[in-house]
């Protein structure tokens, strides 16, 4: 059998100059709406490129056209120099194009070995499974990307970063010449992102190109050589990464200038704090947490995955409550044993995964806005007054900048940023003055991210205190006045963000590992 690695190495020399993908003037419409308007881009062998743009700019559609999922309406597609009139998914795979979607398309119930060998098993059309062969393929494919992993582990039990490695190994084993990664760093910690990047650089040495689909600007600047930025279905700008900087990219992506002021807190430390914990702990998750949140403050909490970060956020909201220590609101001791306790004490929580934990996708925007406060609209006979509900919902949507033609539409029809605004608006309507956000801008594009941050700062002006649990270092530095580092369930450092440099925080995080 020909080793796929060998194949790539042989092709290496002449491949460096050739273009794996060359798309010219691609057009694509859905139901009369032009999603791609004369879009051109090219990726050459051994290049690391980035396709950037806000949600809904057409970048996912372009990926689907290149990978043969959607047929293109107009323009030319060349893969490895061969033009395709009608490109199918099989053609694209045969030409060595592999897409790793955000969910990795792995089988969580199967082992690493089975996941890696499945393609071969299906392709070879064998009806019997040779376990020796399965294990050999699995070891070979992991060796190709230089990773060591227990191949008998069930994929569902692996951390996200390892799942991603399995997906990459599988792609490389399938003779990939170009690996397209859709938002690969969204759920990774800083450390994991770095090892992913070094892996990608390693692939480049072997002549395998990578196309990032991303909206994380810092990462683009870190890893890529070429950047193509899309907006509203068009390529706005395209060129070598060395000619770009953060501001230029942001402007190109959003079409407007975004200011970069750090958040400053100018409150009074003499007042009793909104929320204070004393030696708060939950066995197996975190311990000895002393946290103080004052009126108008935005405090960030960050730590690696598994540091107890999410557990702490949840415990403060009564889910998986703490089992030792004390919690005070305005110096009065309170007990939080359930979500209802937390809500009754004016604590609001915007969950990490808005799709599974935050939103009712098929339900209307209005119901999503008011899910937990409908009782506020009960009239004298105990029934809901829908005229009032409707008016209040429209007002809320406007106030939080949710752009939707009609609030009776399902929330599924909104963009990621708008969905996040709906969740935020819901929680602020409960009248809470402690707002806990877990990963507030995960999967949200730059423009919406900025709007959400602006909204958060606005909220603090009314005296609300905000806790942000996040691993987006830049987000924390820009928007928090204090940042706590959590490691193995305890706070290890506290930073004031006004003088803090990003690299200090990253060093501190990595040192704790």
């Amino acid at each position: 059998m020909l080793s796929p690695l060998g194949l790539i190495l042989i092709k290496d020399e002449d491949a460096m100059s050739s273009e794996i993908v060359k798309a010219e003037d691609i057009e694509k419409s859905f139901g009369g709406i032009k999603v791609l308007d004369r879009v051109s881009m090219a990726v050459s062998a051994g290049e690391i490129c980035c396709l950037a743009g806000e949600n809904g700019c057409g970048k996912s559609t372009l990926i689907k056209v290149i990978s043969g999922v959607y047929p293109h309406d107009g323009g030319r597609i060349e893969l490895n120099g061969r033009e395709y009139q009608r490109l199918g998914p099989i053609d694209s795979i045969r030409e060595g194009i592999q897409v790793i979607y955000q969910d990795f398309s792995l089988f969580p119930n199967l082992t690493v070995a089975e996941n890696l060998a499945l393609n071969d098993q299906v392709e070879s059309g064998r009806s019997l499974v040779s376990w020796g062969r399965v294990r050999r393929i699995a070891r070979e494919s992991l060796a190709m990307i230089g990773i060591d992993m227990d191949i008998d582990k069930t994929v569902g039990e692996l951390p996200v970063s390892s799942k991603q490695l399995v997906a990459i190994a599988r792609a490389v084993y399938c003779n990939a010449r170009l690996i397209i990664m859709d938002e690969p760093t969204t759920t990774l910690t800083q450390k994991e992102i770095e090892s992913l990047f070094s892996l990608i650089r390693g692939l480049r040495e072997k002549g395998i190109s990578t196309l990032f689909v991303s909206h994380k600007i810092r990462e683009m600047l870190d890893i890529t050589e070429k950047i193509t930025i899309m907006r509203n279905g068009r390529v706005v700008v395209s060129g070598y990464t060395r000619d770009f900087d953060e501001i230029k990219i942001t402007q190109a992506m959003t079409g407007r200038e975004i200011s970069g002021d750090r958040f400053r807190w100018s409150g009074n430390t003499g007042e009793p704090p909104l929320l204070r914990t004393e030696k708060l702990g939950r066995s197996g998750a975190f311990q000895g947490i002393d946290l103080t949140l004052r009126r108008g403050e935005i405090v960030g909490v960050t730590g690696l995955l598994g540091s107890g970060r999410t557990e702490l956020a949840l415990a403060l909201f009564g889910k998986g409550p703490s089992d030792e220590g004390r919690i005070f609101r305005n110096d009065r001791e309170i007990v939080i044993k359930s979500i209802q306790d937390a809500i009754a004490n004016g604590i609001a929580y915007v969950p990490e995964d808005r799709l599974t934990e935050g939103l009712f996708l098929e339900q209307s925007i209005e119901r999503n806005l008011f899910a937990n406060i409908y009782r506020k609209f009960i009239n004298s006979v105990g029934l809901l007054d829908f005229r009032k509900v409707r008016a209040a919902a429209s007002e809320k949507a406007r106030q939080y900048g949710v752009t939707a033609p009609d609030i009776s539409l399902p929330v599924r029809s909104l963009s990621g940023g708008n969905q996040q605004r709906v969740v935020l608006a819901r929680w602020m309507s409960t009248g809470a003055d402690v707002l806990i956000l877990n990963g507030p801008t995960v999967g949200v594009d730059v423009g919406s991210k900025f709007e959400i941050h602006k909204k958060l700062r606005e909220i603090t002006e009314s005296g609300v205190g905000i806790l942000i649990f996040s691993d987006d270092i830049q987000e924390l530095i820009m928007n928090c006045n204090r940042i706590m580092i959590i490691h193995k369930g305890s706070f290890t450092n506290e930073f004031r963000s006004d003088t803090l440099r990003e690299s200090d925080l990253i060093d501190c995080l990595n040192a704790s590992r």
Binding site: Q340, P351, E357, F360, Q363, R367, Y374, L383, R426
Partner: protein
């Protein structure tokens, strides 16, 4: 008003289709059975038949709204009607005055509601506190309730209701049969409950996304418990109507109602995955089914053939729903 109607049709696309199907069924039966289908007599007899299925379907919808199902409804209805029957047979002295009979009847209604609610509460308890999947919890409790009913009756029908009792299932006020009046009032109550109360909206939200509902601070356990309890209570009422109409109570009466009530709910636009459905859909779907059922009887279909048709019908609707939702996605 016209704009409102147009909006309703657009937002309840399914309801609109369903209405057309119902009207077509009706027209078809009128055409196939001239002179027998479109008669006052047939309509009177239908108005006694479908309300019990209708009541059970409301209960089924309630369970399916939250993404569950309640297979024990007919079991509950039969158990409740047997308890009511026994209370008349064993406790009421023969030859009682009409005052005593009326008091006993009021007691019977309470007993049916109470027994139904308790059975439903057990379902809700299993589902919310022990996380038993609804389909298994209610499959088990269906056997439990039916088993109890068989043990206390030894499988025989219990008869011996006072004549006054049969008014519930066979009487009428003006041109409206009493079962129909009961059904329509329940429809009205549940329309208000589901559309205009906090609790009703919570049920939709729980069905749409349980996890998000928990995070939104909705007391999901309590809400589920109540919904199954209310479902059981409705089943108790259905049992009352059934036993009164047939003048007897039996452990294995009306078992095909379970499939039919699921059919009505699904036909009426209740998604088995939860989160959508409304009372109007139930009303129209139950009518469509009754038109078909009466028509089949007049065309001399056997009961077995009917059950076969219901099964096919249910599967066909699920397949059609699959295609319409696929179409809506793109």
């Amino acid at each position: 008003m016209k704009g409102g109607l147009g909006k309703l049709v657009r937002s309840e696309n399914n309801l609109f289709q369903l209405t057309i199907i119902t009207v077509c069924t009706f027209a078809l039966m009128c055409w196939l059975l001239p002179g027998t289908f479109l008669t006052v007599r047939n309509f009177r007899s239908m108005s006694f038949q479908f309300p019990e299925l209708g009541i059970l379907s409301i209960a089924m919808m309630l369970a399916m709204l939250t993404g569950g199902i309640d297979l024990s409804l007919v079991g509950i209805a039969n158990l409740a009607s047997i308890l009511v029957a026994l209370s008349f047979v064993k406790l009421m002295p023969p030859g009682s005055s009409s005052g005593v009979v009326i008091a006993f009847m009021a007691g019977a209604v309470l007993l049916a509601i109470l027994a139904g609610s308790l059975c439903g509460l057990l379902n809700g308890f299993l589902i919310s506190k022990f996380n038993v999947p609804p389909i298994l919890a209610t499959l088990g409790s269906m056997q439990l309730y039916t088993g109890i009913a068989i043990v206390i009756t030894k499988g025989a029908a219990v008869i011996g209701f006072p004549p006054q009792y049969s008014v519930i299932g066979n009487g009428s006020v003006g041109i409206f049969s009493i079962p129909l009046i009961i059904f329509i009032s329940l429809l009205a109550v549940f329309a208000v409950l589901l559309r205009k109360t906090n609790y009703g909206i919570n049920l939709y939200l729980i069905g749409a996304n349980m996890k998000a509902a928990i995070f939104a601070g909705i007391k999901t356990d309590k809400a589920l418990m109540i919904s199954y309890m209310v479902g059981g209570c409705l089943a108790g009422l259905a049992g009352l109507v059934m036993s009164s109409r047939t003048n007897g109570a039996k452990a294995d009466y009306g078992t095909s109602y379970i499939l039919q009530s699921i059919l009505v709910s699904v036909l009426g636009g209740v998604k088995p995955s939860g989160g959508s459905g409304n009372v109007a859909g139930i009303l129209i779907a139950v009518l469509a089914l009754q038109f078909l059922s009466s028509g089949f009887s007049m065309l001399r279909f056997s009961n077995f053939a009917k059950e076969f048709v219901w099964g096919c019908f249910l599967l066909a609707i699920m397949i059609i729903n699959y295609f319409t939702s696929e179409r809506n996605k793109t």
